[in-house]
Amino acid sequence: MGNEIKITLDGQEISVDSGKTILECACDNGIFIPTLCHYAKTTNVGACRVCVVEVENARSLVASCCMPVSPNMVVRTNTPAVRAAQKMIIELLWASGDHNCLTCEQNGQCELQNLIYWLKLDQPRFEIKTPGYEMEENNTMISRDLNKCILCGRCVRACNEIQVNEVLDFANRSSDAKVGPAFDEDYIHSSCVFCGECAQVCPTGAITLKQAKFAGRPWELHKVKTTCTYCGVGCQMDLFTKDNKIVKVMGNREYGQPNEGSLCVKGRFGMDFVAHPDRLKKPLIRYKKDDDFKEATWDEAFKFIADKLSKIKKENGADSIAGLASARCTNEENYLFQKFMRAAIGTNNVDHCARL
């Protein structure tokens, strides 16, 4: 980090860190500058130029996401020239794709849609020409509609710089430019590991989570912060639910450690087991060996277990009973389980599959 310097931002003199960009300083001071290609923790590429600002004595507008502040810089974020440039950029993007929000999963959380609204645009001044790509729908996890791609490159940087899976890249030049796995492969035929990072960072509806499609509008979903149930990393994640069902799983950059908003395929796409029809729903008892299981009430089950355990303990001693706690259950449950074995049964025969 650099030292404190003074700059003037929209008429206000402020002191900022000399190592920061104009965009970062604006953000720190509560001034909104729109962005599209910029994505925290990835390289600033200055591709979209929607973040432009006026800098006194600069020859043209500058991209604030890439421009470091310098002493006594005078910056304006909201002049007519800035707005005109932003409108031009957004209208071009709008006209170059198939942005039919009626059928788009991102409707309501699309960054392009938000900027169109923010800039109060009714129509693009250019004729809408969609590239006519085929939809990629041949896997069960991620859908791609490159007709909605604005070539911001966030997915490419997320895949290479955040996850380092090195699957995505740009192909072709200028008018045919396109993002995707090498050799124009589909995700399912590429080395993609389905971490879903690209879908999480995509500002538009170009890369979306397939299982979430038609499962609920963004504003209908309920968000619950929790911890992944799979490996020992313990990623923090948001479960989005509707009508008592998990609709999708997202990382959240605000939660910080341990995963800083990233997830892997298990965390992102592995939660459908929760609603699987095979889930057990009632206690089952086999009254005699070789009998079939019979459904029972909880009270019957508790009584059956308590009677049998008490009898075994009386006849053979507490150490003839053993218990397996679980690396999958909560701390509270493991605590209670070993307390039950030790205090209620009276044995230290308690272990779990940690060794395995």
Binding site: K266, L280, A322
Partner: protein, 537 residues
């Protein structure tokens, strides 16, 4: 994690996940990180991109090898020899942290003596690792200012597992890497709450926070807290329980959310033993292979249907929160335990997981300062002794939990079962990216199953050619204990003479094959090495 506990006085990951990205060198051994802990794998790769050096010690050509500065491909089960070789070079060349060794450790002379014979040439003979590579790796590790060691089941699932872990600790201490940011010895835990299950006393010899059941003062404390008489006798480990069930001395087993019928070695044997029980109680999400053998099966809530906390592999205690209702009559595991306990006359009345946690922190010193209120702001890493304490990013800062760090002089012992004429291949088992543990959850996920629908036998191209086995062909794998069938996947990930299989699928139960020989201290079965033969099915 008995090895680490003996060395440092604590068995957890010494440092934090985010430090991995900001260290000078990472030594990864026995961990296929990008598949088993993908988000940590991501940080390792990011670190390498920024200039961190990476040494990989692994018999398989795992993804991380692509990013490694040095890859040592040892013969499976020869880890101790390789680490001793590194120690040998570092000591012989005087590259170790002399001050640190003098001030903070004990046992150096004994270590020095034992590793003397593990010269690079001798180690090459045992492990197949070229002497020059070993020297290079030793120098690179010793010269790094901060170096972090990552390891997982590839290190512990051996008959010498405890020794392997102690060897890691030896190496780290020798170069002054324990107790500094970016350093440490870091076991990566496979399951989401293995750390928590251990912390909470889900072990036969300790109460919560690793307080010994055999210690009278400790026991008195718990007797008072729990208002019960407690047994001073340490209990049985899981493998001992199975044996005792077979002998008839264990009559009842109560299993909460585990599936030993797919995860334990030598499954045929386990099944026979479990069938002899008078009473087997299983509570789980699904009718697992284990539940099918039970007398009572109880439906429970999944992580998304209840409140509570998990402790991750870096000791971070984090909340889970109820997002949806459990199906049918399923209850949270803790409610089930309370129900049984109350019927047996030992009162357990809690209104919520939070109430249980409030009791936990009273008897668990390392968790004492943690509360649900504090966890709202994010996870906290234990030890966290007081409500003001910020939690602990890395352990053993100025002093080890046991005082001085103890070097353990360890000799290499060969794996219990090595390939021979009849069973010429070495089988290792492990996980793959798309599945988790016994597959109860992941094989019921559409996406994960799409990417990885079945178990595969990974076999080296040279071996495949010799046996005329082609990609996707069904093969039969047989050990002294059983046979399974699966499709062949021809890949140079497997070294010549070695095959790899995962244990996620019930219809290809690889644990019908594995060797139940146990590490005498850690009591972990030797999943990583057993002898098999492979033939076209």
């Amino acid at each position: 994690m008995a090895g680490l506990a003996a060395t440092f006085g604590s068995g957890a990951m010494t440092n934090s996940i985010d430090e991995i990205e900001f260290t000078d060198l990472i030594l990864a051994t026995g961990t296929n990180t990008t598949e088993n802990h993908p988000v940590i794998g991501m940080k390792v790769k990011r670190a390498v991109k920024k200039g961190t050096k990476l040494i990989v010690i692994d018999p398989r050509e795992i993804d991380l090898v692509k990013y490694a500065d040095i890859w040592l491909r040892q013969n499976p089960g020869t880890d101790v020899a390789v680490i001793n070789g590194l120690l040998n070079v570092i000591i012989a060349e005087g590259l170790y942290a002399k001050e640190y060794v003098k001030d903070r450790t004990e046992g150096f002379d004994a270590l020095k003596k034992v590793v003397e014979k593990y010269t690079p040439a001798y180690v090459e003979k045992i492990s197949g690792v070229p002497a020059e590579d070993l020297k290079k790796a030793a120098r690179m590790y010793a010269k790094a200012v901060r170096a972090s060691i990552l390891y997982a089941m590839g290190i512990t699932q051996h008959i010498s597992g405890t020794d392997n872990v102690k060897s890691m600790a030896n190496l780290s201490m020798l170069c002054g890497n324990v107790g500094i940011e970016g350093g440490g010895v870091n076991p990566l835990r496979g399951q989401n709450n293995v750390q928590g299950a251990c912390d909470m006393g889900g072990l036969p010899n300790v109460y919560p926070a690793y307080q010994q059941v055999a210690n009278e003062d400790v026991r008195k404390k718990f007797e008072a807290a729990w208002n019960a008489q407690l047994s001073p006798k340490p209990g049985l480990t899981i493998m001992e329980m199975m044996d005792a069930a077979g002998r008839g001395t264990i009559k009842a087993i109560y299993i909460m959310g585990e599936n030993p019928m797919l995860s334990d070695p030598d499954l045929q044997h386990v099944k026979k033993e479990l069938q002899k029980l008078d009473l087997m109680i299983v509570q789980d999400l699904f009718m697992t292979e284990t539940a099918q053998l039970a007398d009572v099966v109880l439906p429970v809530a999944s992580f998304a249907e209840k409140d509570g906390t998990f402790s991750n592999t870096e000791r971070r205690v984090q909340r889970i929160r109820k997002a949806v209702n459990a199906p049918g009559e399923a209850k949270a595991d803790w409610e089930v335990i309370c129900g049984i306990s109350n019927k047996m006359g030992y009162a357990m009345n809690y209104a919520s997981a939070k109430e249980i946690f409030e009791e936990v922190v009273k008897v668990t010193p390392s968790y004492a300062g943690i509360s649900y209120e504090r966890l709202e702001k994010g996870g906290i890493q234990w030890p966290c002794p007081t409500p003001e304490h910020q939690g602990t990013k890395f352990l053993h800062k100025d002093k080890f939990s046991r005082g001085l760090g103890l070097f353990s002089a360890i000799e290499y012992i060969a794996p219990n079962e090595m390939p021979d004429k009849q069973y010429p291949f070495l089988l290792s088992t492990g996980r793959v990216l798309y599945h988790y543990h016994t597959g109860t959850m992941t094989t019921r996920s559409e996406g994960l199953s799409e990417r990885c629908p079945e178990s595969l036998v990974e076999i080296n191209p040279a071996d495949a050619e010799k046996m005329k086995i082609s990609e996707g062909q069904r093969v039969k794998v047989t050990s002294r204990r059983g046979t399974v069938e699966a499709k062949a996947s021809i890949t140079k990930k497997s070294a010549p003479g070695s095959i790899f299989m995962n244990f996620h699928f019930a219809d290809t139960s690889v644990n019908l094959l594995t060797n139940p020989a146990l590490d005498p201290i850690g009591k972990i079965p030797e999943y990583k090495v057993c002898a098999v033969k492979v033939e076209a099915a």
